[in-house]
Point group: C2
Chain length 142, copies 2
DNA sequence: AAAATAAAGGACTTTTTTGTCCGTTATTAA
DNA sequence: TTAATAACGGACAAAAAAGTCCTTTATTTT
């Protein structure tokens, strides 16, 4: 449902989030820790910077970080940036004429489930994710 | 979440299901009606035949069809045959150490939602899908 | 000012998924 | 018994997703 890229993106954002604001981490460090391919990690982070979900600074001591306003972004913003929202819009069977008025046989159950995911993504902020990680002591590493 | 191939597979099975038992349809006819690439349709149907979800007959008047026992198969059987069950097993963020005991921040909401989908796929038979299509007059075409 | 550091950006490669082509096999009908 | 039909099977091709490499740009430290 989420692409590999998007899963990586969420993990990068979580990693940055559990470090204090403006604590910069290089793409290499993040990639190493999360065991995500390095060059790919850079690409993903750059995309998130472009979409204003992550902040960055060049040069020595630079790296990626989350500002206070970045931390207010939602999980959905990350998903939107990397994968887009097609999954939440189109019919689960790819039927273009399937809609609430003319639902395909899986439609009704499908949209209910999908809507729950959507709401969860929409209401959960990056900040909240890291709060939960810190509280539960979850190890992100992989 | 479902691959393109799997969506096609489900539509093929639905198409066969709304036609009466042992009413054979050629891959070309199915592909044409559902607007799925012809050669790809053949491949998918062959795979379903191999996994005993669809029946087939060679030669003139032959084609693909669903026997009574085929119609008892579940949506999940189709998904299992084409995509496998990875989606229902692995962590939504690809974290290998995420589990019920050590849940990642999205885990709990995620597995609840996923479980609902799983149950729906597991309990819904091909027969039931076509019953619903016939009752509601849904057009499969695309 | 020079050297070092790290993101930015573009072109490229690899792998997976999607999709095609074509010869073979089985079945039916004339 | 030959021609036609349609699934079967394997190899191939195209497109998309995942991942790499290398040069440039901005920033900091010496």
């Amino acid at each position: 449902m989420l692409s590999q890229k998007c899963k990586y993106a969420l993990r990068c954002v979580m990693y940055l989030s559990i470090h204090s604001e403006n604590d910069k981490k290089s793409a290499d460090e993040i990639a190493e820790y999360l065991k995500i391919p390095k060059a790919f990690t850079s690409k993903i982070l750059q995309q998130l910077v472009n979409d204003d979900i992550v902040s960055s600074a060049k040069g020595p001591g630079g790296g990626f970080y989350l500002s206070a306003s970045n931390k207010k972004k939602k999980v959905l913003d990350v998903v939107k940036s990397i994968d887009g929202l097609d999954f939440f819009v189109n019919c689960g069977l790819g039927l273009s004429e399937c809609s609430n008025k003319n639902p395909c046989p899986l439609h009704n159950t499908f949209i209910q489930i999908r809507e729950k995911l959507y709401q969860m993504f929409k209401k959960t902020s990056i900040q909240e994710l890291s709060d939960e990680i810190i509280q539960n002591g979850f190890k992100l590493k992989r």
